[in-house]
């Protein structure tokens, strides 16, 4: 496949097109992703999450500058929500990163979530393969930023940066399950705002809850002011130190194995879903099924079990993909 060679040479047009093929679930996307797969596993993948307005994009912008100074090629996947009504989206994260627009060592791509939950888009994992195979050393994934459901980022990243800011009720939000667990490095941005020190203490307090012996890695907390460029050097050092630490302790390998496991499960369930849809025409029959349920003529589990029985009896699935 010619496109694969072009991607590996770092051809920007090829990379951009490949991402579109994958995003649009074009028929050739699977073969493309698999052809790239052997050439992946080299990039450091940093997930950036946190509530809207916390300063994720500005932080990424500042980190790009430092990464470039050390000669690293950088890619960014910036995810924004699709409208559940029109399917359209306004993708505005790169607004804060436009000073890097003409730097050939930086590739920024905005992605709409296209209805996928978990803070990222369904195709994000395969888009990562394109950027990894294209030779970007550091890849940032910036999530939508709606907080407590952004768990998918853990499956996709080597290190998750959780961006918090004072004065948004983050003190209590931080206590809730699902937010604090996903962060590897905690960033308290807008550190010059009132409440920043208090937030830091709260975060330290919550982090100290960890069960003894459960996790020997100490989660760093870094205070930054992204707009003024303060604390970014410290943040980058914390990322580098954390990376060495998890590489040494085996946690990085463990994470990457977990990512592959989740990916396989994802592909499997999508494929099964697809197969069932083709074989028993789920989409077509859905209105009728719904109708029988509404009239209480059937029950959900029984109805689906019956369909699956029929499917198993009738087919030794070989025609569909």
């Amino acid at each position: 496949m010619n496109l694969v060679d072009d991607i590996r040479r770092g051809d920007v047009r090829a990379i951009a097109r490949a991402i579109s093929l994958i995003e649009d679930f074009e028929p050739e996307a699977e073969l493309l992703a698999d052809s790239l797969f052997p050439h992946t596993g080299r990039a450091l993948i940093l997930g950036v999450t946190g509530s809207p307005g916390a300063g994720k994009s500005t932080l990424v912008d500042r980190l790009i500058t430092l990464e470039r100074r050390s000669g690293h090629k950088v890619a960014v996947i910036a995810i924004d929500p699709s409208s559940p009504f029109s399917g359209g989206a306004i993708l505005g994260d790169r607004l804060r990163m436009q000073e890097h627009a003409t730097d050939s060592g930086v590739f920024i791509r905005s992605m709409a979530s296209r209805g996928f939950l978990g803070g990222v888009a369904a195709a994000t994992g395969d888009v990562l393969k394109v950027l990894d195979a294209a030779g970007y050393d550091t890849i940032f994934i910036e999530t939508i930023g709606v907080g407590q459901t952004e768990i998918k980022i853990v499956e996709l990243s080597d290190i998750v940066l959780l961006v918090l800011m004072p004065g948004t009720g983050d003190e209590i939000q931080a206590m809730k399950a699902g937010v604090m667990e996903i962060g590897d490095i905690f960033i308290i941005n807008k550190k010059d705002m009132p409440g920043a020190d208090k937030l830091r203490m709260e975060v330290e307090y919550v982090l100290s809850f960890k069960n003894p012996g459960e996790d020997t890695v100490i989660n760093p907390i870094v205070m930054t002011s992204a707009t003024n460029g303060e604390g970014i050097g410290l943040l980058r050092e914390a990322i580098a130190a954390h990376r060495s630490e998890i590489a040494r302790s085996g946690k990085l390998e463990q994470k990457r194995r977990f990512r592959l496991e989740r990916e396989l499960m994802g592909v499997l369930s999508r494929k099964i879903h697809r197969l069932m849809d083709v074989r028993i025409e789920v989409s077509k029959q859905l209105p009728d099924w719904t109708d029988t349920l509404y009239r209480r003529k059937a029950c959900p589990y029984a109805l689906i079990n019956k369909q699956i029985q029929n499917f198993l009896k009738e087919g030794r699935g070989d025609r569909t993909n």
Binding site: A16, F25, S86, G88, L95
Partner: protein, 132 residues
């Protein structure tokens, strides 16, 4: 299950900071189901073209009110061509005098939408051009 979305970059070249029109269009197109990449004010033609290529957009919509459209719009068209991305279509909007439109079109700007253009007109154009 291919699910192609039309992507459009809305960008403001030049030095004027009046982005109401650009933002209005961005929102209107979002509501029509487009994926709109918005990069804000004061973008150089080089930055616009690199963004359009990385984002793999179908269209670039340029908004300008300062009067520099005769230089900046064709420059974007030329740079796209130089970078092998001539299939990305360029459209313009803002305060563009009627008499400038023919020469802009000659230089490769596909359409110019002035004040008073309805969202429907723009969408109709985009749908037609993207073959939908």
């Amino acid at each position: 299950m291919p699910s192609k979305k039309t992507r459009i970059l809305i960008a403001k070249p030049g030095l004027d900071g009046h982005d109401r029109g650009a933002k209005f269009i961005a929102r209107a197109l979002r509501d029509e189901g487009y994926e709109v990449i918005y990069t804000g004010i004061r973008q150089s033609p080089e930055a616009i073209v690199q963004t359009a290529i990385q984002e793999d957009v179908d269209f670039v919509g340029l908004s300008l009110l300062s009067g520099a459209h005769n230089e900046l719009f064709p420059r974007v068209v030329d740079l796209l061509k130089e970078n092998g991305a001539e299939e990305i279509k360029v459209i313009g909007g803002g305060i563009i005098p009627e008499e400038d439109i023919p020469s802009l079109k000659e230089k490769g700007v596909q359409a110019v939408f002035g004040p008073g253009t309805s969202t429907e007109q723009i969408v109709e154009f985009l749908e037609h051009e993207s073959g939908r």
